[in-house]
Symmetry: C2
Subunit: 329 residues, 2 copies
């Protein structure tokens, strides 16, 4: 059959997802491969994962029908500034049989477009790290935070994990029995909930255990905080509220009070009905009561939509968004 | 001449100081050598610096007159748990001609004893890191914070430096012109106060500059914060107030409300009439209005006093403290 096809790719640190969509919304193929972030994995390896995901998505599609494509990835700017990396991506695109041009956008823009078709708005993302970005005419505009674990990422998974350990250490300093969340963190880090006769020995063991590992691994404790908050554990609930306040404050750095454009929540900690998303929604309702709120959805489909918007036959990109990008909350 | 002599050593990360004191308070000699912290420099090198400082202090003293000695150092517990390290220190002591026993105490206890002769109290230290410790019968009792830059050291030089960079990044995120402190930090880190046409480029350059270095080097920015606060710069003043609140909160983890035993302030950021010391004094006056407050002084002399206290001829250790340890604020 004929008709234009668009391809979208969502390249993340742990997986690369590709989708091929007809303009009537039919999904002609999808593919999945390993993490392909060129910043952390190198452009060659990233391009290899890209090709694997593309080939899977295009298995039943005549590549000559593909009229456009978009690749969304973290560190898009770094890739575009690196001729060797750009070459590697060009080769992967060509090796997949594609002859149309493609665009590269930041993963934050793709997350935004997975939640709304509105050209202007804000995206707020919390996963291992945290970042807020303004979107204008479907381009990333100003950015807040995303400064990394040492200097920022306030309210992120790293932040939640570090704060959970800090609360545990404070309990031990005070000679208090660790609470429910603190007990979970203690068990996770030391393999036992037991506090030494001299609590300072447990403090020292915790500090040594954490500082022996890459700091970003503190983000692995975030699911403990989220699970404890779901159970109503007060320290965990307090941490989620603090994280939500930090995230909203980051958004406020780039988004005027009273702004009514949509806000999209993305990243593992904010996508869907997570407890942190609920806390962030409450903060946002306080600061921007009239802003529509959306959850990020299918990034690969959103990337495909971003490519389709530029095709001459597309006259109503908003209607096309409804066809191509699965509806989220 | 005859009469007992005591030797005190204050072993820090950047210098080792030794003093030889007669029990009437006369200083018979003093010595100085390079940093000798066995945790950061290795026990062999630390012992070498110890020996150099000791030999200088004992140049005019018959070592047979030396009846006792104390070595104060960070990580004392680690040294005592390491037979090879302990051997290296024993050899240095012996090579200096000393035949009396010596004791090893944590630098926090020595800092405490440099400010007061009271057997019970609290010491609060802020330099590159930050720690609070209770003292009972002139032994370190419970400890709060000192958890290192990744998990703690709240209110320390590292903390001040990191927060100063975070305030600068927040200014840039917001599109504000950096304030006075932020301009100083920007110049210190990037060599120029200029903000790029796209402020995000300056943000990225700052994050890269800081993350390329060891994190603890953020403490090098603390003097900028202190100097700006002396000039009344509002962000710097706010940071010092926050740091003081963190430090007082750490002390409160181990010190009951209303406690009236003395508090000694130590470390480069709190020793003497520093602006952070002033802010901490205000916090302490609020929480423990009846506690005498002292500044840490001559650590080597305090170490010598700790050794002298155990001599049979010493009947009034408080009076001896007044003779041996120079009075501080």
């Amino acid at each position: 059959m004929s008709g234009s096809v668009v391809v979208g790719l969502d390249v993340g640190g742990t997986s690369t997802r590709a989708t091929a969509l007809a303009l009537d919304g039919r999904r002609l193929g999808s593919g999945r491969a390993g993490g392909g972030n060129p910043t952390s994995h190198g452009a060659e390896r990233a391009a290899g994962e890209l090709l694997a995901a593309l080939r899977e998505a295009l298995a039943g599609v005549d590549p000559a029908r593909v009229r456009g494509g978009t690749i969304g990835l973290a560190g898009a700017g770094l890739l575009l500034a690196d001729p060797a990396g750009r070459d590697a991506f060009d080769r992967a695109w060509h090796d997949a049989g594609l002859r149309c041009p493609y665009a590269v956008h930041g993963d934050a823009l793709v997350a935004y477009a997975s939640g709304t078709a509105s050209p202007d708005g804000t995206v707020l993302i919390a996963g291992t790290g945290a970042i807020a970005a303004g979107v204008r005419e479907l381009r990333l505009d100003r950015v807040a935070d995303g400064h990394g674990w040492l200097l920022g990422d306030a309210g992120s998974g790293f932040w939640l994990g570090r704060e959970a350990v800090r609360r545990l250490l404070a309990d031990l300093d005070r000679g208090h029995a660790p609470g429910r969340l603190a007990t979970g963190v203690l068990t996770e880090l030391l393999g036992s909930a037991e506090v030494a006769a001299r609590p300072r020995d447990t403090v020292d063991a915790l500090v040594q255990t954490v500082t022996r590992r890459p700091p970003v691994e503190l983000a692995r404790l975030a699911p403990l905080v989220v699970a404890a908050a779901v159970d109503g554990e007060p320290v965990a609930c307090g941490l989620l509220d603090e994280a939500a306040a930090h995230l909203a404050e980051s958004a406020a750095r780039i988004r005027p009070a009273g702004e009514v454009s949509p806000i999209v929540l993305g990243g593992g900690l904010l996508t869907g009905a997570t407890p942190l998303a609920a806390a962030v929604r409450a903060e946002i309702a306080r600061r921007w009561p009239d802003a529509p709120l959306h959850s990020a959805g299918d990034g690969a489909a959103a990337a495909a939509w971003l490519a389709a918007r530029d095709l001459p036959e597309v006259t109503d990109p908003v209607a096309l968004h409804a066809l191509l990008v699965p509806r989220t909350a």
